[in-house]
Amino acid sequence: MPAPNQQYSDRHLEVAEELKELLQDQLPPAVKVARVYAPEEDHKRPAGRFVWVIPTTEQDVQRLARRRMLSEYGCSIIVTEHYVEPAEASNEGPVPQAWVDDQCGWVKENIYTFLNDRVRASDRLLEALWPETCRIAVKCDPDQLLGKTFVSVVEVTYREGREG
């Protein structure tokens, strides 16, 4: 099996890395941010909130000019946190709804709203890319929640004009 990064262009990885840096600067230090190809099993340990930046799609959207191409790079931002019971509680029963609501609110405010800021488009990623789309693809994965892990997915695409 080839190394995963052989499937990605250098530019796409650069975008994902820069996005990771952007989130790392924005989020509290306690949140662990990493660029990966899939969330690691670590997130199932009770070790706080994780934000995984995963490069996903890449395409040339349209020809802008005779020697310029509009290119698009997609990334998924996966937020995970394992529910930790209060010390006095037993490890049984469902995850409290209020905890899930808090998690969803955190994702919306700190990931979705932050990355969907079109005003910030003047401050471009890698000085070239602007946010084209941003959506919460999965608010809360119910299957993962059965295992007491909150998983939410935000998908973003960035575009730039490049020679080509």
Partner: protein, 157 residues
């Protein structure tokens, strides 16, 4: 059959300041460019036949072109400055293929830029729609053809 493709068409601006010794720099931010090519025709009516005759008089070699806006591109800025100027001209070479490909054909003239419309849709990147007409400088317009070499051969229009 060597088909020609729009994406390979090319336009160049002379950056040397000399008509006789041009330095061609490609205007590669054009997306669509339409060189005009219509002759005006004078009407001729004579008793020889009932048809309406005509004779070519003047050729329109103006053009319209949609250019991607890039304020860091020196050639875009030259066209922008020419559009802003009341009297300024730019020496342009308009070809239907690369300047390095034998058989590329078009024309060259000193143009005034007469339009620079810029639609600003929220959902798109910005282009400027330039229009140009040849200006009667001392250098008369030329047919341009890339011949063996490759070299651009000019003949008066």
């Amino acid at each position: 059959m060597p088909l020609k493709h729009g994406v390979d068409a090319s336009a160049y601006i002379n950056t040397s300041g000399s008509f006789g010794s041009p330095a061609w720099s490609e205007l590669d931010l054009f997306s669509d460019l339409t060189p005009n090519g219509g002759w005006d025709a004078a009407e001729i009516n004579i008793r020889r036949s009932k048809v309406k005759y005509g004779a070519k008089t003047n050729l329109d070699i103006g053009f319209t072109g949609r250019m991607l806006c890039d304020s860091a591109d020196a050639n875009y800025l030259l066209l922008l400055a020419a559009w802003q100027s009341l009297t300024g001209t730019v020496d342009l070479l308009i070809l239907d293929g690369p300047i390095t490909t034998v058989g590329s054909f078009g024309y060259r003239a000193e143009f005034q830029i007469t339009a620079g419309n810029q639609p600003q849709p929220t959902t798109d990147v910005l282009y400027r729609e330039f229009a140009a007409v040849p200006y009667p400088t001392a250098n008369i317009p030329k047919w341009a053809e890339v011949t063996a070499g490759p070299t651009v051969t000019f003949t008066d229009i």
